[in-house]
């Protein structure tokens, strides 16, 4: 089954590092990856995309993460028109921004990658994102820390947030988001971790790495379709 690594951060200033990351991903057997170029997202044009795609045989999708300072800043950043299909995620510990992002249909993912940010997730944000068919993302990178005490705290936070999203039937997305290339793992291995240590059933975990990611990509491509009106509503041309 084609699982997804939903977040692979790339330093676009260093193509050698990107190449190394892709080589490890290919060795691991990862087939689909969503990459997030660090830095200025406005540069995420055709040229850069082609350059990144030429480095690997994997299916590559693109995302950008916005870290707005306040609600107005969020609105300003969202109004910048993006011409190419890009997954848009918001990462912030400020609740007002999270709520605004969950209400906005242009936001695809509300990310809770950092353990400090995870603490700020409320049932209201999950409920709003569910209504809007957007996704709540958590990242497993925090579980790779060496310090045992910190690691157990991070596990506790991951456990709490996963079960909160699950109990409210939110759209959960789980990503690796590993900084070090030797921390990268195949999504199937991450599914086992979610099952054994975080108490998710295998089916639920698989959904977060496969089905939900596919839905997210479909949602993004629909938005760039000129016939698309709203989620579930689309113009159909005669004969289609």
């Amino acid at each position: 089954m084609p699982y997804f690594e939903s977040r692979l951060r790339l330093n676009v200033q260093n193509f050698e590092e990107i190449k190394n990351k892709f080589v490890i991903c290919e060795k691991l057997g990862i087939k689909n990856v969503i990459v997030e170029p660090d830095g200025n997202f406005k540069n995420l044009g055709v040229e850069l995309r082609e350059k990144i795609s030429s480095l690997t045989k994997m299916h590559i999708y693109y995302r950008i993460s916005l870290r707005p300072r306040n609600v107005d800043d969020l609105k300003n950043k969202l109004s910048t028109n993006k011409k190419l299909p890009t997954i848009l995620s918001i990462e912030t510990p400020i609740k007002e921004i999270q709520i605004q992002a969950a209400k906005d249909s242009r936001v695809d993912v509300i990310s809770f990658a950092d353990p400090k940010t995870m603490k700020t997730l409320t049932p209201g944000v999950i409920s709003l994102s569910k209504q809007n068919n957007s996704f709540i993302e958590i990242s497993l990178s925090s579980m790779m820390v060496v310090n045992k005490a910190q690691q157990s705290k991070n596990f506790r936070e991951l456990y709490r947030i996963i079960h909160l999203v699950n109990s409210l039937k939110g759209n959960l997305l789980i990503s690796g988001n590993f900084e070090d290339s030797y921390h990268l793992r195949h999504p199937r291995a991450l599914i086992s971790i979610c099952h054994t240590l975080l108490g998710l059933s295998i089916l639920e975990a698989k959904k977060a790495f496969d089905e939900n990611v596919k839905k997210l990509i479909e949602r993004v491509y629909d938005r760039y379709d000129t016939n698309f009106i709203e989620y579930g509503i689309k113009f159909i041309k005669e004969g289609e």
Binding site: I24, L28, Y182, A189, S192
Partner: protein, 115 residues
Amino acid sequence: MNIVRNERNRYILFKIINEGFISIEHSDILKSIWKSIWRFFGMKEANKIGLWVIEIDLENEYGIIRCAHQTKEIIITALSFITEINGNKIILSPVKTSGTIKSIKNYMISKKNLN
């Protein structure tokens, strides 16, 4: 009368990914797996595992281990948490699990032929 088998075996094929040439023994890998099992699962799960190293080929970068079928996910998790052995960065990435060693070997042959 059917024989009810309570415990079946699972064979796990894993890939060894490392930074170039590193000198590690088979025992180092086994020790790391046990260390990882103890760290994340403790005695409660460790006594159910029945871990056995079938083969470790550092040259061709793969290994095969055997465990009880109920503890397959635990072993995959334990393998995933190993990030270094003797100070060398390493990834032990599970590739395939099977109930028989024969199908693992067949899988390896088919993969080799594909490459």
